[in-house]
């Protein structure tokens, strides 16, 4: 009923696994279609028929590969959780804060551009009250945050960055970056842009890096905006 199991996978190396189908397999096609559908409409709003249409397959085919809507949803959700915060995973006290934060911000924003559906699906799950991720939040995700917060605290104690609430700094980076996936229509409309292309990505990344580093009392390497 819940994905605590996904926690175990977070730092796993990608290895051959019969459960993980090759990119071109039917199962993978369905998962991609399902991700888009669940991302747009949430679990309750998603329609199995639309998943089938998106995958260009008859509906019973979906049910052949995934027993139920719930199981399909969980399969999609697991895959998303796995690749969530990679760029901030290996950071330690010894790392350079400016470099580490910049890499984290840019990676999150790149994810928002390349796979906005993943971000939106996660957002839907949270808005809905995380019915399938409560266990994950309270165990491995909390541990991850506390662990990363500790590194930030060590940077603070070493005088490398300003005093800031570490957990809330992480939240701010998450929200500011994921915003460009979840609220993409809004951002593009208000910026008067047609699509979230590389120029927009670069401008946004530069802004966020500069602004957030300055918020931490850091100057970026050699950029101004």
């Amino acid at each position: 009923m819940d994905i605590t199991s996904a926690s175990r996978m977070i730092h796993m190396v990608n290895q051959p696994n019969p459960e993980v189908p090759a990119p071109s397999s039917t199962k993978a096609h369905i998962l991609i279609a399902a991700k888009a559908e669940f991302a747009q409409y949430g679990f309750e709003g998603a329609r199995m028929q639309r998943v089938a249409d998106r995958a260009a397959l008859p509906k019973p085919n979906i049910h052949y590969h995934f027993k139920s809507k719930q199981q399909l949803y969980l399969a999609v959700l697991e895959r998303i959780i796995e690749s969530w915060n990679l760029a901030f995973d290996q950071v330690s006290e010894a790392s350079d804060p400016a470099q580490a934060l910049e890499a984290f911000i840019r990676q999150k924003l790149k994810q928002a551009q390349q796979d906005p559906a993943a971000s939106r699906l996660f957002a839907n799950e949270m808005i809905q009250g995380a019915p399938n991720l409560k266990g994950y939040l309270n165990t491995s995700m909390r541990a991850w945050v506390q662990d990363r917060a500790l590194v930030i605290k060590q940077w603070m104690q070493a005088g490398k960055i300003e005093q800031v609430d570490p957990e809330r700094l992480i939240f701010l980076i998450w929200s500011a970056t994921q915003h460009y996936a979840d609220f993409q229509v809004q951002a593009l409309s208000l910026l008067n842009r047609a699509e979230f292309d590389d120029p927009v990505l670069t401008e946004t990344a530069d802004f966020l890096v500069t602004f957030i580093l300055r918020g931490c009392g850091l100057a970026p390497a050699s950029r101004t905006i």
Copy 2:
């Protein structure tokens, strides 16, 4: 099909209006119930029966007051748009940037605490691609942002704040504050708190104000965190 009409209401003074029922009326009850339902499940995922249950009314009663699901949704959405960015509305070039930004951040965060459903409903609409707000985004909301961005630019030209992309600064404030409504379960779980009460609100507001003002090259009035 779209709420461009809401644009006209944004700066309207609250005046007696037969369309706006008294707080205790059946219609108001239904709107509150519907807001919660649409916020949690999105338009497609929302169920008229659940709206009825939340309002403790028979389902046909809902349809007596609102012709269709769509009309009910639009009615809820309109009410939300009206009170969205009030605290930043009256700000002008002459305003003190630190004070204005602080008031804006605190107001948005208070809204996130007092009416998280409103924020979540809006988030759902955006994630879904803003099918009912495209017109609003491209007209009055864009005008609002450009207008507010102009004020920020004037602050920059007057040397009152650092050089930052004004639109993206607004996005960052929106996302960082609304995060505590939309991702409330996540934030509370990771902060190890039971509810979004006043202490959490204060800590969060203080963090955001300090951090964002510093990002703008400003020091807060007399606070450290």
